[in-house]
């Protein structure tokens, strides 16, 4: 794997993401009334095809559902909230409560996941934007269903059919403590945007250290 950032930048990106994803996790926790466990975020530079393979491995080749939001500003890319398909209805049930009948729950599943994605992804993006003091404009969330490659194909990065330039792939796993629901949150940025993102993070760290 080619590395485009040094140890310090990687550490700073991870820390900033930790905070942003912490905000997202707090929102999810409130929605489903359960504690959310987070993995340590990891940052990799991969081709779009490698990123799809990575996602495919983690979802064990099964179909997933994802809510994707494109964002743009000083840096741009896609942020995705991904759940194994078989668990998504459970999540919606936890969110809307037991009083909603199953047939209505199924009908509302896609809309409910979009709203979950809207809240979680915006909490994460908003936290990043506030920390870095740079506005980030998010598109309306969209719903994608399929295997890892299909989900990442829906992103607007790369544009080279998965074989071309590298992308920065930021990824964190989360799970609900009591409800046996887990998922993934991923950022995908092309290299130019990743460079701008890392510069913004460096400026943030410098400002913090300068007091």
């Amino acid at each position: 794997m080619i590395d485009f950032i040094g140890e310090t930048e990687r550490d700073a990106v991870t820390e900033l993401l930790n905070i942003a994803i912490g905000h997202a996790a707090a929102s999810l926790s409130q929605l489903v009334e359960d504690e959310v466990h987070l993995s340590v975020p990891f940052v990799d530079f991969l081709t779009p095809a490698q990123a799809a393979t990575r996602l495919e491995q983690e979802t064990q080749g099964a179909d997933s559902v994802a809510v994707r939001q494109h964002f743009r500003g000083h840096f741009q890319g896609d942020i995705l909230l991904i759940f194994p398909e078989k668990r998504s209805l459970d999540l919606v049930r936890h969110m809307l409560g037991d009083e909603v009948p199953l047939d209505q729950l199924t009908e509302l599943e896609q809309e409910a996941l979009l709203e979950v994605g809207n809240i979680i992804l915006n909490a994460c993006l908003g936290s990043l934007a506030n920390q870095l003091h740079t506005p980030v404009e998010g598109s309306l969330p969209t719903y994608v269903r399929g295997r890892g490659a299909r989900i990442l194909d829906a992103c607007t990065i790369g544009g080279t059919g998965g074989q071309g330039e590298m992308v920065m792939f930021l990824h964190v796993d989360f799970s609900l403590l009591k409800k046996d629901v887990h998922g993934y949150l991923a950022f995908v940025m092309d290299i130019l945007s990743a460079k701008h993102f890392v510069e913004a993070v460096q400026a943030y760290v410098a400002a913090q250290l300068a007091g």
Binding site: H23, S27, Q30, L31, L96, L108, E111, A112, L114, E115, N118, I119, L121, N122, A123, L125, G126, S127, A129, N130, P135, V136, G138, L140
Partner: protein, 121 residues
């Protein structure tokens, strides 16, 4: 203590359902109206003259900020709050500048009730 009317404007039906549930539970008897876009919300505002408007920000069409601005122009006395997942400071500041509330998703019941005041019937 009088019955009030609350207009919920959000492109997400699920989001409207969750907010409606809180209003109907905590303010029984109040009238809850819904609109799925800013444009529709403005039309309902003119027709029904609600007391409160709870407004999403990121919606197709004119969006929540512009909708709030137009609602203010049409009906200066209506009490409006944004209810949004977009927690960025500039959005919060725009709300403050317009004199409208700013609530964040997921909905915090106590914050919504504070916005709705002590008008429980």
């Amino acid at each position: 203590m009088s019955v009030k009317t609350v207009l919920l404007v959000d492109d997400s039906r699920v989001a409207r359902m969750m907010t409606r549930r809180v209003v109907e539970t905590k303010r029984p008897g109040w009238v809850v109206l819904e609109a799925g876009s800013g444009e529709e919300g403005l039309a309902v505002l003119v027709e029904a003259r609600p007391d409160y408007v709870v407004l999403d920000v990121n919606m197709p069409g004119i969006g929540g900020i512009e909708t709030a601005r137009r609602m203010r122009a049409v009906s200066p006395d209506v009490r409006v709050t944004l209810l949004t997942a977009n927690i960025q400071d500039p959005v919060r500041h725009q709300a403050e500048d317009m004199g409208v509330g700013f609530l964040t998703k997921p909905l915090h019941e106590d914050e919504l009730l504070a916005f709705l005041g002590d008008d429980a019937p």
